[in-house]
Every structure is written in structure tokens, then in C-alpha cells.
């Protein structure tokens, strides 16, 4: 009973255990959910899912399992792609060969069709594993700076509104942020960041110290206190998405989900290729909800560690010239904005997913490396080790 549902949940990456399965059966026996599917949906979610970021995956698995759909493909039928920006981006990024390939495919309209097809395939294969649709890095669409987060996938437009069930609304999609798999080695390196600094007020009775001091005092009580241990590390994370980074999003994501567990404060922002006057926090709403970099600069205190994750692979003019951004007109060059960030947060590092051996060949990496005063490290456990050492230096 329900075992298949359970194994589907586990396949989708939701950590469900036997304990929880038994609890669910127990609750069904107790008659809490009565006999409606809606009640069962809520009850099973309460018992099986322990984090809101899995709600979206749960919704998808539930929909697939309980409406008798064999695979997820049908769910993802109505992918909507904002035509105009796709076109614009495609024009900006395409190399001549790629343009020729598009012509061969039959123009942009055809490409978009193919893209939708590709989306279906990829989601089908990942089956809820990751929210990044086009992350395989083999996709011909990666090069277009196509950002899957901007695409609405779902059936909100393709079905009658009234028929939409709770689990089809997918309201928790944005909370799904983690990809725990394979983060083990990264986590080990990140742990170095946890500086158990013995800072702050005296709070804890130091028993050994007290006994020692009292004995020395010939039995007269001498209390010793010592400060509590705190994890004081605060981190600002800037993640490059879209464009040439799509190949590395998977690695970036692993780092990101590793980082989530490690810090007292962790704030993340997204940028595309390079930092300019604004960044964004929610990839899905990157065009509506931009946050001025000035605001970031004045919001956080200088004790935040600043970590960039980006391949820094672009035209050098994108860094050095006003108006160099491929997406919009920037009044001031990216290098100036980066400089402001670096002076506001003096402890910083840049993690680059490109193999270190290739850095020499890419001029823009050299430029970025100079700007961050050489503090650029490869996105490997060893590179992280070096980065955290720099971040911890006083």
C-alpha cells in the first residue's frame, strides 16, 4: 500500500524513511484523513515532507502518481518562454556557426519549438531532481544564455483554471533550492569557514578552571567563566547564472547547497556574467525584481565574507567598459562596481569552476583575477581550502 508512491518520493530526492511511512499508515488507520484525496494530500505532506523546499517536488510526485500519469511529461507540456528576450539573447550570443545551425533548424520559431521539446526531455530525465532544467551542459541552448529559471513550466495556462488542484499549482516551486547529492567533499572544505571564534561575553561556567582556581585559593570559591562558542561566519554569495555559466550551474548548485548548512548568515545574489548596478535574488523574477547593488553595499556589514562564483569567461569589454553588459546598458563599467564591492567587504574570494589550467587562455579571467587581487581559486575542494584560508585571514 502506497509503497510505489513512497519510492517515487525517494526517487524525486525527498528523504522519506520507513518511520514516516509507518506513521502515515498509522494515521490512515486512525482515520484522520477521512476519504478525500485533498485531505490525504495534506496529511501525507505533513507526515512525509519535512522541509518546505521539498513541497514542490512532493506536489509533482503527488500529481503524477495520483492522477495516473505514467511519466511527468504531460505535466510539463505547457512550457512558456517569453519570446522577446529569447530572441534578443539569441541574437546577442550566437556565433556565426550557431546562427547557421539555427538557419538549418528553420529559424528562431523552430528553435523555440525544439527548445520546448528539449525541456520536456530533460525534465523527464531528471524527474524532479533539480530545478535547473537545462543544466546538462550538452544542451545546444546553453550557449544562448538561456536561463531555465525564467521559463514558466506548468499547466496554469493550458488547463481550465477551475480544474487545477492544489498540487498542480506548484506554489512552493521557489522554495526548492537544494541539491544535496555529492556535496560531501565541498562541505568538508567549507567547514573550514566555521571559525569557532571564542568571542563575546563570558557565559559558560568553566568547571575545570573553577576547580583549579578554587584549589589554588585554598578552598575559597573562585568562579571561572569562559565565552560561549559561536559560529560567527557571515557570507555574501554572488552566483553567476545564465550564458556561459550554464555548464557549471550544477557545480555551483552543489556548492550552494553545501553552503546553506554551514553559516550563521548566508545571503545569495545572482548576476549574469559580471556584476553591474543591480543583482537579483530570485531567478524566476530576475527581470521584475532587481536589487540595486548600492543597496547590497549599504545593507551588510564589512564583516561579511564575499564569495563570487563565476567563470569570468566573457569579452574583456564586458568588465572594463561602460555599456559593456550584454543584457542592458550599464552606465558604469563592471570593474567599478566590483571595486565598490571589494572595498565594502574586504574579505573576499572568487571561485572559478573553469579548470585552473585554462585560465591563462581566457583574457577576461586574467582581468577579473587582477581585479580581485589574485584571489581567484578553482571550484574544487582544494581550491575551496585555499579560498577559505584567505577568507579567514584577519
Amino acid at each position: 500500500m502506497l509503497i510505489r508512491f513512497l519510492s517515487l518520493l525517494r526517487e524525486a530526492g525527498i528523504p522519506v524513511s520507513v518511520t514516516e511511512y509507518l506513521a502515515l499508515l498509522e494515521s490512515l488507520k486512525a482515520g484522520i484523513a477521512e476519504t478525500s484525496v485533498d485531505n490525504f494530500y495534506v496529511l501525507a505532506r505533513t507526515i512525509l515532507v519535512k522541509d518546505e523546499r521539498y513541497y514542490d517536488r512532493y506536489d509533482r510526485v503527488f500529481a503524477a502518481h495520483f492522477s495516473g500519469i505514467e511519466s511527468m511529461l504531460e505535466l510539463l507540456g505547457g512550457a512558456e518562454i517569453p519570446d522577446d528576450w529569447l530572441k534578443r539573447l539569441a541574437e546577442l550570443h550566437l556565433s556565426p556557426e550557431e546562427k547557421a545551425k539555427i538557419e538549418a533548424l528553420g529559424g528562431l520559431e523552430k528553435v523555440m519549438e525544439a527548445l520546448k521539446e528539449r525541456l520536456k526531455e530533460q525534465e523527464g530525465r531528471h524527474q524532479g531532481g533539480s530545478k535547473w532544467v537545462g543544466t546538462a551542459g550538452r544542451s545546444p541552448f546553453g550557449a544562448y544564455g538561456y536561463n531555465p529559471e525564467g521559463v514558466r513550466i506548468g499547466q496554469d495556462s493550458s488547463r481550465q483554471r477551475s480544474a487545477i488542484k492544489v498540487w498542480d499549482r506548484r506554489e512552493f516551486r521557489n522554495l526548492d533550492d537544494s541539491l544535496e547529492l555529492g556535496t560531501r567533499n565541498l562541505q568538508v572544505a567549507l567547514r573550514r569557514l566555521r571559525r569557532f571564534a571564542r568571542e563575546g561575553a563570558a557565559e559558560e561556567l568553566d568547571l575545570d578552571g573553577t576547580i583549579n582556581a578554587t584549589a589554588r585559593n585554598a578552598g575559597w570559591l573562585d568562579l571561572k567563566l569562559r565565552p560561549e562558542r559561536h559560529n560567527t561566519v557571515k557570507v555574501l554569495l554572488f552566483l553567476d547564472v545564465g550564458g556561459s555559466m550554464d555548464d557549471y550551474i550544477k557545480v555551483t548548485e552543489e556548492l550552494f547547497s553545501a553552503a546553506r548548512n554551514e553559516f550563521r548568515h548566508l545571503e545569495h545574489y545572482y548576476f549574469h556574467n559580471f556584476v553591474y548596478e543591480s543583482v537579483w535574488k530570485d531567478n524566476r523574477r530576475r527581470y521584475q525584481q532587481r536589487i540595486p547593488l548600492q543597496e547590497v553595499l549599504r545593507t551588510y556589514s564589512p564583516d561579511y565574507r564575499l564569495i563570487f562564483v563565476g567563470d569570468a569567461t566573457m569579452g574583456p569589454y564586458e568588465i572594463l567598459r561602460p555599456g559593456g553588459s550584454v543584457e542592458h546598458w550599464n552606465d558604469e563599467a563592471g570593474s567599478i562596481w566590483l571595486g565598490r564591492l571589494l572595498s565594502a567587504f574586504p574579505r573576499f574570494a572568487w571561485l572559478n569552476p573553469q579548470p585552473e589550467s585554462r585560465w591563462e587562455q581566457v583574457p577576461s579571467i586574467g582581468v577579473a583575477r587582477q581585479l580581485v587581487e589574485g584571489r581567484m581559486y578553482p571550484l574544487t575542494p582544494a581550491g575551496l581550502e585555499r579560498a577559505t584560508r584567505v577568507l579567514n585571514a584577519r
Binding site: 528523504p15 498509522e26 484522520i32 506554489e171 543597496e295
Partner: protein, 284 residues
Amino acid sequence: MQNARFSSTRRYVATDDLSMAVAAAVTLGRPLLIKGEPGTGKTQLAEEIAEFLARPLYEWHIKSTTKAQQGLYEYDAVSRLRDSQLGDPRVHDISHYIVKGRLWEAFTSDVQPVLLIDEIDKADIEFPNDLLRELDRMEFYVYETRELVRARHRPIIVITSNNEKELPDAFLRRCFFHYIRFPDAETMRRIVDVHFPNIKKDLLAEALEAFYRIRDVPGLKKKPSTSELLDWLKLLLAEDISPEALRATDGKATIPPLYGALLKNEQDVHLFEQLVFMHRRTTR
């Protein structure tokens, strides 16, 4: 023991999802972990459950320095040491220096109590792990007096978290979980009705619209939540503001009166003023 199913009370609006989650937790005797945006009534839930089921409520508020042991009991070694130095006869019975914690108090309650463990994520990362056995078996051992404390009635445990830290898997396994979503406009209207039954309809409509508009402003550090809305409405009623004063549809967007109740930090207020200013310029 069969309990009436928890539902909305005259002070608290519970969605069906939430009632279901509470029912499951109460029936199966598992702790219920509640998450959600600040100000969506997580802490209040425990109070409402206690009142609804007419049970005593024990609250344990967690701080960053709280240890799991403090919820069970504390051995006040310092005052024992002092008593011994002063020659107080109480010193010979160690039980005088065992101070009961909230969990112990809840365990010894005569009727099934409600226990609130508030903001569990504030504590050290190992804190939830240290409570596993206590929450599972509802018993713990006092080493100093060699005494086993066992719950007379399995308490209804409500745990809240603001997501500041990840909770360990082993802990999560033992809990049921519910995420309180930010209420939609319809639920919000019900919530306001519960708190201000006599509010004028048009004022409420305007206020809600202004409220959701402010929530939609991109980049706010702290979005106003339900509790802020309720505070704001209280002020609006006290000042007897007319609904017209809240209206911003004529292009001359204004800052809603008494917005200090909604926006809680100066950057947000500044950002908001800037946006309103820009909006005025473009519509002029």
C-alpha cells in the same frame, strides 16, 4: 483520549491544512514542527491549541545560548557550593539543587499539556539532537538523584522554526511538519474579521490593497506580515483614517498613512519613499 478537531477560533484563523496537521500530530502524539514567514502566527498556534483543547500551556523559548539540558533540569552546583561554604544544612540533600526545566514541568502535568518549543533554530546546531530521546520516549534520567522522569501524559508538542539553521534529519524524522504560507487575500480578510469584527468594509478593502501593494515592492528587506497588518489596522482605526486617504489609484501615489507600522527598517522606508517619488515624477 479523543480530542475535538482543532479549527479556527475566535482569535485565530487556521486553514484546513493546518487543522489537518494539528489533528495528525495530536492523534499520533508526534511533535509538530511549524515553519513560515515571521509574523504568520507560528507561536500563537500553540496558545490557540492549548485554549481550544483547554489544556495547560508550557512555553520554552529558545535563545542562542539555550542548552537542551536546561529544558530538562539544571543542577545548581554554584548555590550548593555556596551553601556548603556557609554551612547551610540543605547542602546534604542534592535534590534541593535540582531546578526543573520546562520539559520536566510539562511531563509532570496532571492533564495532557501543550508544550511550545519556540524558535528551535536559534539554538546550537546540536540542540535538537540532544532532545531526540526525550521527544521519542517522553522520559529522561536525572543522574544526580538517580531518578527516571517519565511523562504522565504525552504532551502535545509544537515546535517553531524560522529556518535560520538546518535541523538534523534524525530530529525531523520524529516530527510532523507544516509550513504556514503567507495568507492569500481571502484568508487575510477572514483573519482581519476575527480581529476587528466592526471594521468598515471599504476601509478594509483599501487597506488590504495598500498592504499587498507594499508587499509587492521588490527588494524590501522585511516584508510586512500578518501581525504588522493587524497593528496597522489598529492604528488606522484609532486615528479614524478615511478609506479615501489610502487610495492611490488616481496616479498621485501617496505613502499610506502610519506606514511605520508596516515597514520596520529605515532602508525599506527609504526605498519605498524613493519608489513613490519616482512614480509621482513619471505620472506627472
